[in-house]
Structures are given as C-alpha cells and as structure tokens.
Amino acid sequence: MTDTLVAFDDVLASYDPALGLEVHVELNTNTKMFCGCPAVFGGEPNTQVCPTCLGLPGAMPVVNAKAIESAIRIGLALNCEIAEWCRFARKNYFYPDMPKNFQTSQYDEPIAFDGWMDVEVDGETFRVEIERAHMEEDTGKSLHVGGSTGRIHGADHSLVDYNRAGIPLIEIVTKPIQGAGEKAPAVARAYVSQLRDLIVALGVSEARMDQGNLRADVNLSLAPKGSGVLGTRTETKNVNSFRSVERAVRYEMQRHAGILDEGGSILQETRHWHEDTGITTSGREKSDAEDYRYFPEPDLVPVAPSREWVEQLRGTLPENPTQKRARLQADWGYTDLEMRDVIASGSIGLIEETVAAGATPQAARKWWLSELGRRANDAGVDITDLGVTPAQVAAVQALVDGGTLNDKLARQVFDGLLAGEGTPEEIVAARGLAIVSDDGALSAAVDNAIAANPDVADKIRDGKVAAAGALIGEVMKEMRGQADAGRVRELILEKLT
C-alpha cells in the first residue's frame, strides 16, 4: 500500500500542523535505576543483571539517588516546576523484553512539569512548552532469529538480553506545539537538537541518537487551517537522528493531508520511521485494549525532594541556552547569518568543543559547516553522529596552522579519520600526506613545469606575475597536492625574475 502524499506547500494552504515530541534520555549514571548493576551500553549478553533487573521473584527495587538528581537537573534546565512529592507507578503490559511485565515509571505525578525551552529556527524563537519530564526504566533487547533479516516478522524465535533492562530513562514530553506552520519540521528538529545540547551541557547523558541514548517519538496532527483545534494524531517511533525528525514530521504532514483531502480520517496509531526509504508505516493500533492499569509502585516510597536540595541543584545548572548562544556569538565574532547557519546545522556544541580544544572559531566553523556538514549530509547522519570528534578537528587544524597540511590534504585526513585509521598524526604519516617543502624536490618540479609551459614562463618573465598561478597548479598536480603552495610560488618567481 502506498500512501498518497500532498505537496508540502499545499498541506500548509489547507492545514495547520500540531507537533508533540517525546524524547527519552538514557542517563549516564554508574548504575541502573533500581539496582546496583552497571548502566553501560553493550557488554556480553546478560552479564550486567541481578535479581532486581531480571525481575526474579522476590527481588525489590531501590531508587538510584543520582538518577533523581539528574532528573531534577533536567527539569530545572527546562524551566520546570519540581514536584514536592511524587511517586513511581507501575505501567502494566506484557512484553518479553520487560522482565516484570510492568515498567516502573511515573504516571500522574512526574518529578518535573510545566516548563519550556526556547528554540531558534532561522533567527526566529519558538517557545516549546514542556508538559512533563518523568523517570522510568529501560527494557531489555530482543534479537530476532530464524527469520530473514532480524526483523520480527518471519522470525522463528527471539533471544533476549537484559543488560539494558533497568537503565534509567528520563522521558521529556512537550505540550502540543501549534503555530509553527511551514517551520514545523524545522522546529521539531531544532527542539531535539537543542535539547541534546542542553543534555550534553548538563552532563547527564551521552545523548547520542545513533547509540539510542536519545530517542525521539514524534506526534503529529493536522487541523483545518485557522480552526485552532487539534486533529487526530499519529505517534512515529524510533526516529533516530535530528535529520529524520525533520523528515518524519514532513512526511507525516504530507501523508495526513493526503488522507484528509480525500475525506478520510486519521487512525490514532503508532507508526514506524524507515530511515532508508524515508517513509512511515503503520505499527500497532492504539486501541482501548491498551489499558496499562497504572497504580502506585508499592515497593517504592514517595520521592519528596526538599526545596534546599532543588535550589542546590539549580546552582549546578549550565548557562541558559539563549544567553549562551548570545555569548558564544560575541566570543566567536560570528555574524548573525553565520550564527544562524551554525544553529541550523546543530553544530554549536561541536564548535564550542573544537574551540576549547584550541582551534580558532572561524576555522572550527569552516570545518564543521562545510567539509564535515557535507559529509554528514552525504552519509545521511547527524553531524554529531558523523564519527569525527571536536578534538580531532582541532588537531587537524593545528597541523594546517603548523604548515604540515593544507586544506586539501586536511580533507584526506578526514577520510582517514572516518575510515578509522588512527589519529590525525598517524594518518598523515601512514598516508604520506605531509606538505613537501624540501626545495630539492620542489625545485625539480618547478623546472619541469617551466619546461613544459614556455609561453607561461615568458609571460612571467615579462612581469605578468599573476600568470604564476598556472605554473603553481602544474607543480601541485605533479606533487599530488602535497606541496606548500607559497614556497612553490617563491621558487617560480626566483627562477623567472
């Protein structure tokens, strides 16, 4: 079945979109939410488990203080109220990767609620209202075997690893975001991207979307233009990059409009995002049968953070993002346009780290926005997930500044970094990329170029120094780019004038 998609501009002519985002943040605590098992990604299967996170009969949960602290700090950074008293609740449903067949979560008493975050899109600020941030635990991971490609359909059976079960999650839920219009996809992306920056600045999560530390579910509905109502929404799950957040919103807007234009109605359902094809497909229907039978977790006592503790944690918050953006722009000397591009590319945090590692702001911007931004785009990944670190970018720039590399050679170093060939220095050595400034080799190449282009040489002899560029190009070609262009120019002029 193929969905009918309406052209994006036509969607906006007839409908107003409303967005909602649910972001799960996996905390980087040492231990799990309710037991002392390590909360780390990976590991041999079922090696980071205990009676509690395996849901063995009789085992009991005890809350990780650090997870509460992280939850409160996230709440405060999102300008939320922090509950004076709240409880955990059981969300009851059966699934093999959930050891107890209930998830210990929070229901109507979240630890943080009623906040907001300002996000910037194209120089315009949108205030995203935060409904709640609550604590819960992750599930185990299933591997589906015997079928075709590891997907569930057609699988013979599944193999479950509970290492991830019980890792603390904070779920951050926005209120419906209305009025974004054509910018709805970009607002969704900007929200998730700027939320990630905030989480990183708080230091509470690795926040890597490609690793599943940060997972976004995108709710979208359309309403007749100007009606002000909320239409029926769909929830698109597992949208695992900023880019996909934007694409998924766009796709769902076009798909909803296709159904509504034909007089159909939207089914309230879960949909799955397919990164490869850029479409969503129907998941399970959200029917009334989905009855989670929430009730307060009787094995845990209420959490009642003292106001003193909350204020003490408020003192540990990083700078507020809007002020921080203004400060960085001033510190870095970027124009408004440059800053807007940096924000749009989602690389503000990367540039900050690159500058911290020693690069100039302009050099950092140049690499992240042009060369690396292009590569991320080509690879279809977020720039934060490209696999090049700010420290590496700063190291490459240092090699350029020191005369070892020029920009062209630096690009080859990035090839090497993406191929996992080692540090920039190792790649330069292994690939033989250093600029040749040995006059002997350069001089011979210059002589060859002069001999091969006598007419150009004559022009230079006649004082047309600008013609040297053609000879420099020849030399660079012969030296396969590894020549110091400035030195080549000097040699040509020495020989011909």
């Binding site: 009676p51 063995l56 009991m60 050891p99 006592v301």
Partner: protein
C-alpha cells in the same frame, strides 16, 4: 547427658540452652527433626522440600563453631523451616504453584541470609496456598497440609505448612509471611504462636510478593519467647527493601521475658467491639473472654473500643490485594523461568504466555488476578482501587484513635476453629471470612501476634487470641502475649499439645 531426650519436644530457647550446656549437638537436634519429618510428614504434608543433607551440613558447621567458640547467635544450631514463598539460594522455591515447579533461585531472601548468618540450619521449605492466596493451604498446587490436631481439618493458611510443621514437632521454629493473616490465622487453628511484625520491620527482599503494601515476614513458633528470639534475628533495617524501617528493633526478647513474669499492671487493653460477638464460634469466644479475664487478673485495665471502619476491612483488602497481586504475578510468563507450555508448535510468545499461565496457575490465583485486573482497569480504578485506598486511610485512623485510648487491642484471631478440608474450597467468600480479624493490622501496617487461648468446647480444637499494638511497638505484643501464655500454661499445667499423629 539425657540419653532419651526427645529434642523435637523442646522449644527453641530450651534447645539453645541444651546446646550451650553441651547436652546435645546441632547435628543431633537437626537429625531428630529430620527423623520426625520422615515419620509424620506423610500424614501432615507440611513440607514441600526437605533438605536433609544441607541441614545436617549446616548443623555440623554450627557444632564446629561451638567447639571453636565462634558462635553466630543465641540460636546458632537450632534448626528452622522456611515458608516456600521465600527465595532460598540453591533450594527449590515454588510458592505452592505449578508455574514455579523446579525453580531454584540464584539468591537468598534477606531473612534467609540472616538465618544463615545466625547459624540456623534450614530443614526445608513449607507448604502454602499458591502464592499465599488462601486461608487453608488447600490451594497449594502440591496438595493440602493437614492440621496436626485433626488430620481431616485445615491447618489455616496461607502458611499452613509452617504452622503445622511447628505444631507437629517437625521444626522448633519456622518463618511465615502474613498479608492478611497468613501467620496468625494458621497459628490460631494449630495452637501455635505467630507474629506479624510492623510493616517495614522485617525485610521483604526475597519474599515473592503477594500484595507488597501488606506483606510481612514473621516468626512461627510454639512459644512467645521463641517468636521474639527469632524476630530479633530476622528483623531490622535492610537497604535492599525500600519500605524497610531504618530504626533499631525494640527489645523484643526482653519484653517477652518481662511479660512472662505475669505482671501487666498499668497496661490498658482495648477489646475491639467489631471483632467479636454474634456469628463467632461460641467456643472461640469463650476462650477469648477467659483470656481477657486473665489479663485483668494480671493487672491490666480492659475497656471496649470501637473501630467502626473495620467492618469494611475485608472488602478493602479484597480490592487492594488482587490489584497488587495481578501486577506482581505478571512476571510469571514462561519467558525467563518457570513452566513453559506450548499450546501448539510454532506458537507465539504471547500464545505461550497465555497457555503457560492458564496451566500454571490454580483457580484461586486466576480469580484474584482477574479481580485485580478489573479493579485497576481504566474506568474502574477510582471506584475500586482508589476507593479502597481511601477506606484504608480510615482504617488506619481507627487504629490511631484507638491507640490514643489503649496500649494494645485484642480480639480472637479467627472467627472459628479449623474447619474440615474441602468444606469451603469452592466458596471464596466463606474462605475470605477467616481473615476478618487479622486483615485490619495489615491494612494499617501495625503489628499483631496470635497466641493459643485454649480449646473450643464444641470441637476440642485450638483457638487463638490476637494482640495488636501501634506501629513499631511489637514489644507490646510480645509482652502481653507472654503474660497470657504464662497464665494459661499455669492453668493447663503446660502447653497444649495435639495427640500423637497416627
């Protein structure tokens, strides 16, 4: 040396003294109980699993410690039986259910660990109603336990196995658990002592939860002093149980010893109006009244106290318990442990879950899971679970008001003596009524003890006397129960003992 001493007839305190005096060894005592189990448990069926080898090995270690002067506790070397709802590392733990047949936990419940750290050899695991749901032990998937006083009758429940084991001299001590009376009601109908501690007073870590907000682990013994001794070993704060009280236990053994002197001068006792009177078995009421009179004789002042909301306790309990239980028992799904039933070849995980849970759970468990699922489902939550939680508050307030007037509250433990096996098996409501007097304490989290009050005239079967105290004041239960016990023993010329099992 007492050559012909029957060590199974001794209390735990007496065994500890004999061990200390060098009159016997832990191996000898433990073997005596294993022999007794071999002799009578075919008829009583108190045990689901007997670990003779393990118990004797632990007993030998205890004897070695005694020789080396490195004893772990006052009860080091005194054997004990453990209700099968408590996780025991390396020993089967079935909770009386087919769904856990053959499951061997890889860890110990905190109370079991504390028994081991105190040097008590573990004789085995005792029978119970499946997942502790019942008042007769007939809901065990492995067959009913029989009351040592009359093998045709129930031993109470859910901890009928622990009570019967102690009553039949198969163990001097046992652990029970009490969610709505599962320690106290079996104690009453088998003529033994059982104490439900203050909620949070004993760790629940490793207790396979029935209703988490009501469950408590406690001692099952033949004397009040033995219960206090055992309680001091298992009790106290456990960081693995978030609902555990981070305070030292009151001096329980001291309270029991003080009570045994028989002086209750200055103590105010409240008889709960709502938990006596019409509809209660006359013989049970007669023994209760005589016991109250004995307390007066010991110097206590007795008044009537009304707790009007107690009439709703049973209904409140039968909404809260199934709700929590329905969620607790969801983990038994044939994925990670326990019974796995394939309804047909190539069945899905969900189909296997459904089939396994149908095959693995008994009727009473299914009834309560469905009732609990109903009480929690959207649209019914406020009317059922939510309302029950509010009435629960009112019941606690009744206790608070009562304890402003009196030091302890008393009632018969159960409305009747032991009924016949099978008599109420298919009448859930009649079965639930057994817990009428014991449930309020669980709802409010306060401690309660049951101590034998004598034999009912109609049937010659034991009746129980319940003493309830404010939260954290478990010592009052022990003091009053010990005073009553010593007065009754003086009257009877010793404890009541069932006639020898044929």
């Amino acid at each position: 040396m007492a050559e012909n001493t029957d060590w199974t007839r001794k209390t735990a305190a007496e065994l500890a003294d004999a061990l200390a005096a060098g009159e016997t060894t832990s191996v000898e005592i433990t073997q005596a109980h294993l022999d007794r189990i071999a002799a009578v448990d075919g008829a009583v069926h108190a045990f689901l699993h007997v670990d003779a080898e393990g118990a004797l090995a632990q007993a030998a270690e205890s004897d070695a410690r005694r020789a080396a002067g490195t004893l772990l506790s006052g009860l080091d070397g005194v054997p004990i039986a453990v209700k099968d709802v408590l996780a025991t590392d390396g020993l089967p733990t079935t909770c009386g259910s087919k769904i856990l047949e053959g499951w061997i936990p890889p860890y110990d419940a905190t109370v079991v660990r504390r028994l081991k750290e105190a040097g008590l050899p573990i004789l085995g695991k005792t029978n119970m109603d499946e997942f502790a749901m019942g008042s007769s032990t007939e809901h065990s998937a492995y067959g009913a336990t029989h009351n040592p006083w009359d093998l045709d009758r129930i031993p109470g429940g859910s901890g009928g196995g622990s009570a019967a084991a102690v009553a039949a001299f198969e163990a001097p001590l046992a652990l029970g658990t009490d969610t709505g009376g599962s320690i106290r009601q079996p104690g009453a109908v088998t003529g033994t002592v059982g104490h439900k501690p203050t909620y949070g007073g004993v760790s629940r870590y490793g207790l396979v939860a029935l209703a988490n907000s009501l469950d408590q682990v406690g001692p099952v013994t033949r004397t009040v002093l033995d219960s206090a001794l055992l309680h001091e070993i298992i009790g106290g704060h456990d960081p693995k149980d978030s609902t555990s009280i981070d305070q030292p236990l009151p001096a329980l053994v001291e309270a029991a010893r003080q009570g045994a002197t028989g002086d209750l001068t200055g103590l105010k006792v409240g008889v709960i109006t709502e938990l006596s009177g019409d509809g209660w078995q006359p013989g049970v009421m007669a023994r209760f009244q005589e016991s109250v009179d004995l307390l007066v004789k010991a110097g206590a002042e007795v008044v009537e106290v009304s707790c009007p909301t107690f009439v709703h306790a049973l209904a409140t309990y039968y909404l809260i318990l199934p709700a929590e239980a329905s969620s607790n028992l969801a983990k038994f799904d044939a994925m990670r442990y326990g019974l796995r039933v394939w309804p047909h070849e190539g069945a899905s995980a969900e189909e296997v879950m459904r089939a396994s849970r149908d095959a693995g759970f008994g009727d009473e468990v299914k009834r309560r899971i469905i009732l609990g699922t109903y009480a929690l489902s959207s649209g019914y939550y406020d009317a059922y679970y939510g309302q029950a939680q509010k009435v629960r508050t009112l019941i606690s307030r009744d206790f608070e008001a009562a304890f402003e007037k009196v030091d302890v509250l008393v009632s018969p433990t159960a409305p009747t003596t032991a009924f016949k096996l099978g008599e109420k098996l298919d009448d859930p409501i009649a079965m639930y009524l057994n817990d009428l007097a014991t449930i309020p304490a669980n709802l409010a989290g306060v401690p309660g003890i049951s101590v034998p009050s004598g034999l009912a005239d109609e049937d010659g079967l034991p009746a129980g006397f319940q003493v309830l105290a404010p939260a954290l004041a478990d010592d009052r239960c022990y003091r009053v129960a010990a005073a009553l016990e010593s007065a009754l023993h003086a009257q009877w010329g010793g404890p009541l003992v069932p006639k020898e099992i044929a």
